[in-house]
Symmetry: C2
Subunit: 240 residues, 2 copies
């Protein structure tokens, strides 16, 4: 039995009760080193196996193999679907037809980060990763164009890394084709962890800001405003 | 002190520990009748106040007023931002400047429903509500066009109601302009509650399916496939 478990942003409080229960029922917890450390802090008595960052396939294969005769939790930060391991677990499960897989949903950074900023995700939104490791840059650009054009709030995952220092600037330039430089934006770094930082700023300011890979970025829609320092998208449109 | 709390899909297991703690700390729990009943089942000893479906403004005003001198939780299903009360709480808070508001994120139906279907949300996606109560239909249509055009997985909230029986069909017709009728889709009804039902089907089949307002609908991207009966979007693009 394999649980693919979302642990939320990283603190115990951000986990669901179902995630806790899945981990408690498991004989082995598998995950990327950093997330395994977060879980170990909450469940120190458990057995763990961790792998490095780019070893997703090996990690999932290992978890599926171990799950043949025991209960295993494969832990992911946020939700296990979104840029996580759940899809890969199903893809590789064709080689392990007898292993049952259950996905245990978690709070993704769009929502945990949004809650820190206020309520940027009150209305329709799009989530786009700026990482072109597994997705062609043309596809990412097209998605940014479309999401900006139809006035959805946009959440950017993986907004930056050592080799992609200008990706956030390029994404903002696409948004600026459709939205004013005064559009309310925000970002949150280290959501729910030590050193959490957040800032509400304009799209023009965001364009000239450097963020790191532990940051989630929010570009508001045309109605998003600042209320008491918070980033707030209204539910409805004033012109309805 | 006002907590605006997402309780997830409805079962106790779907709540985060932070949501539980906020409710435990509160002297009064306020919400829409149906969600208050779900919370009351878990915390029977608490004091509750519930209001009907279209009384959002009254409900939030009441919660803000009560929160002036005690700890109040305003509970929402799923996440409190998305089509929830958090945005309205900040908007109305200008009249209650001394009341602190904290948003407690929850697992929205996109993620809890996605976990039931498999892993439809592995990659970039858009969430769009088909309700035109507070949003002009032109804007909804434009968003459907854009999201379909750029090959994002699409999650539809409020796909139907008594007066909008053909809205899902119209949304599918927009998607069919950009995607094959064989595109993998899915829906989940009563997520995490008694009578939960789900189905994986094609976009052509979805077009001719009636769903109700308790249903969340998923339209896969061009790479989404069916694996062992589950709806699975791969992480990467084969052509990278």
């Amino acid at each position: 039995m394999l649980y693919v478990v979302g642990i939320g942003a990283g603190s115990r409080e951000g986990m669901t009760i179902a995630a806790q229960q899945a981990i408690e029922r498991s004989a082995l917890i598998v995950g990327y080193t950093k997330y395994v450390e977060l879980v170990r802090a909450v469940f120190p008595e458990k057995e763990f196996a961790s792998t490095g960052m780019k070893q997703e396939r090996e990690r999932v294969e290992f978890a599926l193999r171990e799950a043949a005769d025991k209960v295993v939790s494969l832990v992911c930060s946020g939700d296990p679907q979104l840029y996580g391991m759940a899809g890969l677990a199903f893809e590789l499960s064709v080689n392990y037809p007898d292993t049952e897989i259950e996905v245990v949903a978690g709070v993704s950074a769009a929502f945990s980060g949004g809650a820190v900023l206020g309520s940027p995700l009150t209305h329709d939104f799009a989530v786009i990763s700026l990482s072109d490791l597994l997705t062609p840059m043309d596809k990412i650009r097209k998605r940014l164009e479309c999401a900006a054009d139809c006035d959805m709030t946009i959440v950017l995952y993986n907004p930056s890394s050592k080799n992609r220092a200008d990706y956030l600037r390029n994404a903002c330039d696409i948004a600026l084709k459709y939205r004013s430089g005064d559009t309310v934006c925000g970002y949150v770094r280290n959501i729910g962890r030590d050193g959490q930082e957040s800032r509400v700023l304009t799209l023009a300011e965001l364009r000239d800001t450097q963020v790191d890979m532990f940051t989630t970025v929010f570009i508001g829609n045309s109605e998003t405003k600042v209320i008491g320092g918070k980033m707030v998208t209204p539910r409805g449109y004033g012109n309805v």
